[in-house]
Amino acid sequence: MNSIPFLRLPFLVIQEVFSMMSLFDIIRLARASKRTKRIVKTVINTIKEYHIEVYIADDYGIGFKNGTSGRYYVYTSKRGHEYSTVGKFIDHEFSISFFKRKFTYHKLDAFKKIFNFCQDLFGDIPSLPLDMNNDDNKLIIDYLKTKQENFDSCEVYINKQKNDEINYFFENIKVAKNLGIYYDIPENFEMNLPENVEKLFVYDSKFLQLEQLLALKSKQIVLNSTNFFFFQKTYIYSNDCSLDIPLKLCSSFYAYFNS
């Protein structure tokens, strides 16, 4: 095999090479030896553009996003489909995600290993998209709690059959900046929404009670399919005191009503 003495290149050149590698090649390089791990850690801290996130859905893994494209390295317990591409529109922008899957009978253990390694390499992982349509929600939440209790942003995709698990999630994991809660949430569901998250988006907010809404201290709230027919944007913006209004703290509020 034709080889090149990589570590004898100037440091700035090594940095350049890293900036052209895929994140997964960098991770594999970090796993080659203690020395390469040290170098990767040093270089990676100078490249701030990597946006790392945990990926939990049917498969578990990690990924990184760059603008509207994302690349994910996930463990699966289903055979086949080693590679896949998923495209979708988010906020009128087309985003595309590339997946590389690795088969294992023990995807949770494999996930823990890769999470540990990435956390060691990159520091705390800022972002957590969590699709609760899996069998290990509580185990994953328990594990994440021991490793990293706080995430900057989180998108939770709720499974109707596992409502209790969403509350378990909010009890154990703190989301500081952006929280998105997606898809059909039963109307009578009592969700322990975190009150202090900076920006909150709820796709289907029929479950949300007025009392709960008023308790929120978020700076921005976007509610889809709300039941609050009596709300008017102007009403909120005018900070009418009759509402007793913690929402005064809220710089923007959008509610999209059921038609």
Binding site: S3, I4, F6, L12, V13, S19, M21, D25, L29, R35
Partner: protein, 201 residues
């Protein structure tokens, strides 16, 4: 070898001053001489500043000795100047900070870099030293491509990475070279540990 006897390599015939084009003469550390057009030199920030500072006229170029580039050999410098001549007049790319950095390797560059990795290694050093941004980009991209999809064990072979044990051994050897007593002290320490002593002192 004297400068007069040194082989002169015309990198690009078109660069010879048919229309009184300005060109410069450079000499590698193994005394190979190159004539390179002024436009091609602009691809290298280092050389461009150098020739600007020297302020040579066409007569100076002919009458004065070639500009010596001490730490690059003729084989490497030939590749560098071939690349510069091919890409002369092209804009120098500006890093927009996107990660991963998207770099395409044009066909000419791919052929130019179809060389053994020892020479590629020298080419990268030269591109870095001469500050030729796009040549550095494409050569780094080639090195980055070597890692694609490789396992850690394969990467150790491709990038000649020492294993942890080899690194440890090298560290010990370096320490010993610095202080010959170090190994004796370490052995003594290990011996005391085996005997159950808690403290070395």
């Amino acid at each position: 070898m004297s400068v007069e006897n040194a082989p002169v390599v015309d990198v690009d015939e078109a660069a010879i001053p048919v229309e009184k084009k300005m060109y410069y003469r450079f000499e590698s550390n193994d005394k190979k001489e190159f004539r390179v057009s002024e436009l091609a030199i602009q691809q290298s920030e280092t050389l461009n500043r150098l020739v600007e500072a020297m302020g040579y006229t066409s007569e100076d170029v002919e009458n004065k000795p070639a500009i010596a580039i001490e730490n690059i050999d003729g084989k490497t410098l030939k590749l560098v100047f071939q690349w510069c001549e091919h890409h002369k007049g092209e804009a120098i790319p500006v890093d927009d900070g996107s990660v991963p950095k998207i770099v395409e390797i044009p066909e000419f560059d791919a052929k130019l870099m179809d060389i053994d990795n020892g020479l590629l290694f020298k080419l990268i050093w030269a591109a870095d030293y001469l500050n030729i941004v796009q040549l550095l980009n494409v050569s780094c991209k080639k090195v980055a491509n070597m890692a694609q999809g490789k396992t850690p064990a394969q990467l150790r072979r491709v990038y000649l990475l020492p294993s942890d044990e080899e690194d440890e051994a090298a560290k010990r050897a370096a320490q010993e070279a610095q202080d010959p007593r170090a190994r004796e002290v370490e052995e003594e320490f290990e011996e005391r540990k085996r005997q159950g002593g808690n403290s070395f002192f």
